[in-house]
């Protein structure tokens, strides 16, 4: 199994990685105008409010673009599929696709959230990551 780089959370994205540890995909939501923003920001670009909350993503998305790398992070690591996803909530999210062959990925295909635990290249503890897989019956 590939090992992965663990994130180094800062004041802006700590909530996200805390959520990941509980296997929750959290999106930042403006407390004033309710706009979702991913990646997060300390101020809402729509209304400039500082107050924010989180909303748990429903876990469904469609594939916008994807690649498989032949220049993996570690020379011996199994190549991973990396995709730009359109989450059903209307924000983009970069993630991996699993349980699918590269040749079977298509534009706009429906995928669903799942979770995986990988050895980490940068910390002793394993790393939990959100992943997406074809929607059951859609593979």
């Amino acid at each position: 199994m590939s090992s992965v780089i663990s994130p180094t959370p800062d004041g802006v994205d700590q909530y996200f990685w805390d959520g990941v540890a509980r296997k929750q995909l959290l999106l930042q939501k403006c407390a004033a105008c309710q706009a979702l923003r991913q990646p997060p920001a300390p101020m809402c670009p729509e209304c400039n409010a500082l107050e924010w909350d989180t909303q748990e993503a429903g876990g469904r998305a469609t594939v916008y673009s994807w690649i498989q790398s032949h220049h993996p992070t570690e020379p011996d690591a199994a190549p991973r599929i990396i995709a730009v996803l359109d989450l059903e909530e209307g924000v983009r999210f970069v993630c991996n696709l699993v349980e699918i062959d590269l040749a079977d990925v298509s534009f706009g295909m429906d995928v669903e959230l799942c979770w995986a635990t990988y050895p980490s290249m940068t910390q002793e503890a394993d790393q939990i990551l959100p992943q997406f897989r074809p929607v059951s019956g859609d593979k």
Partner: protein, 382 residues
């Protein structure tokens, strides 16, 4: 009338080291050698320099470079953020400095051991930069991968294949083959060579779609058009210049705008450049376009209006970007053929073309478009 930076500054000196894969000396020394060559080319002495600009990523300290060169007093500093887009930004900062009177003669340099030292093409160091947590854990850690997620949408929109991109590489290597300063001097390739090179990101980028990793330094000197007239080399006017970054962008991409198949920053930069200068794509005699990867050339040929959206493949196949074409492109070989000095070497080629001293000189070049996607400039005779 609205004020702008058109025709407010001239590039009066250029200098460079050799381009290699292992310079054998410090980045500060490369910076000093290139800078001194540019100062001499301008007919100035180090004591004439009172402004300095480079990239935030450049490792050379301004004060150490001053001391090495013998620059006595500097009154203006600036550094440009980001990667290759910073090449255009340094010039814009220097233009603004001399136009406003903040400085008289601004030195721009960029020097690195980007092959024998830190290689940009390798995976991003873990945990170094705020904002990378959204990409590094998922394995999105090299420029080739990062750009390919955009290129894939572009290829799909217009039905382009990797082989189509290879036809740009063949042209770039043809041009480099007759430029003695190019790393790939006298080493042209065929489309078969391109197609036989290994995949970097299948099915988007092969090895020969990627720019080089190079060691070397380049530098230039800017001053006002009035002062330029008293200097020995034919002045090269910055006819117009602009940067363009849009909301939601990241250093190498903007996955968060609607349509990744359209290089929106590029279209906006083009609109501004042509609007400011009153010039049109057909007024350009030569162009140098930043190409970290070959597909970005196709997007820019369309974005800067040399052909219509989706027509870059046929435009290149029909020979329009060759030395005898309608818009000779990267006559020095570009970042694929000459060297990767963060795109600043592309600006130097624009200067040489307008002066009439390029290795692959385009006859009577009056205007050069020198651009890097998220910004660009038009150079012209002073």
């Amino acid at each position: 009338m609205e004020r702008n930076l058109c025709d407010q500054a001239a590039i009066v000196g250029i200098g460079q080291t050799e381009f290699s894969k292992n310079s054998g000396r410090s980045e500060l020394q490369l910076a000093a050698e290139a800078s001194y060559a540019a100062i001499k080319d301008a007919g100035l002495t180090p004591a004439d320099i009172d402004g300095m600009a480079t990239f935030t990523l450049d490792s050379s300290d301004e004060l150490l470079l001053m001391r090495a060169l013998g620059i006595q007093e500097v009154n203006y500093w600036s550094r440009a953020p980001f990667g290759g887009a910073g090449a255009n930004t340094t010039v814009m900062q220097a233009v603004a400095a001399v136009a406003s009177g903040a400085a008289k003669h601004v030195l721009i340099w960029r020097a690195f051991n980007e092959r024998s030292g830190h290689r940009f093409g390798q995976p991003q160091d873990p945990g170094t930069t705020v904002g990378w947590n959204w990409y590094l854990p998922f394995g999105l850690d090299t420029p080739a991968k990062i750009y390919s997620l955009t290129f894939q949408r572009y290829m799909d929109r217009f039905g382009y294949t990797n082989e189509d991109f290879g036809h740009y590489t063949v042209v770039a290597r043809d041009h480099a083959a007759t430029n003695p300063a190019a790393w790939f001097y006298e080493r042209p390739i065929t489309i078969e060579d391109h197609q036989n090179s290994r995949w970097i990101v299948e099915p988007i980028l092969r090895l020969l779609d990627c720019c080089q990793e190079s060691d070397g330094g380049v530098a230039m000197i800017l001053t006002t058009p009035e002062r330029a007239r008293d200097l020995p080399k034919p002045p090269v006017l910055v006819r117009a210049i602009t940067d363009c970054q849009l909301i939601h962008g990241h250093v190498m991409f903007n996955y968060y705008q609607d349509d990744l198949a359209r290089y929106e920053e590029n279209y906006r930069a083009a609109e501004r450049l042509y609007g400011l200068s009153g010039l049109r794509p057909e007024d350009m005699d030569v162009a140098t376009l930043y190409e970290n990867f070959s597909p970005i050339v196709f997007m820019q040929l369309e974005g800067f209006g040399f052909c219509k959206e989706g027509e870059a493949r046929d435009f290149i196949r029909e020979g329009h970007i060759g030395l005898n074409g309608t818009i000779p492109l990267n006559p020095h070989g570009g970042l694929l053929g000459e060297a990767y000095i963060h795109g600043v070497n592309n600006i130097l080629e624009g200067v040489r073309q307008i002066r009439g001293e390029a290795a692959n000189q385009i006859a009577d070049a009056e205007h050069a478009l020198v651009a890097g996607g998220r910004g660009g400039m038009i150079l012209g005779k002073g």
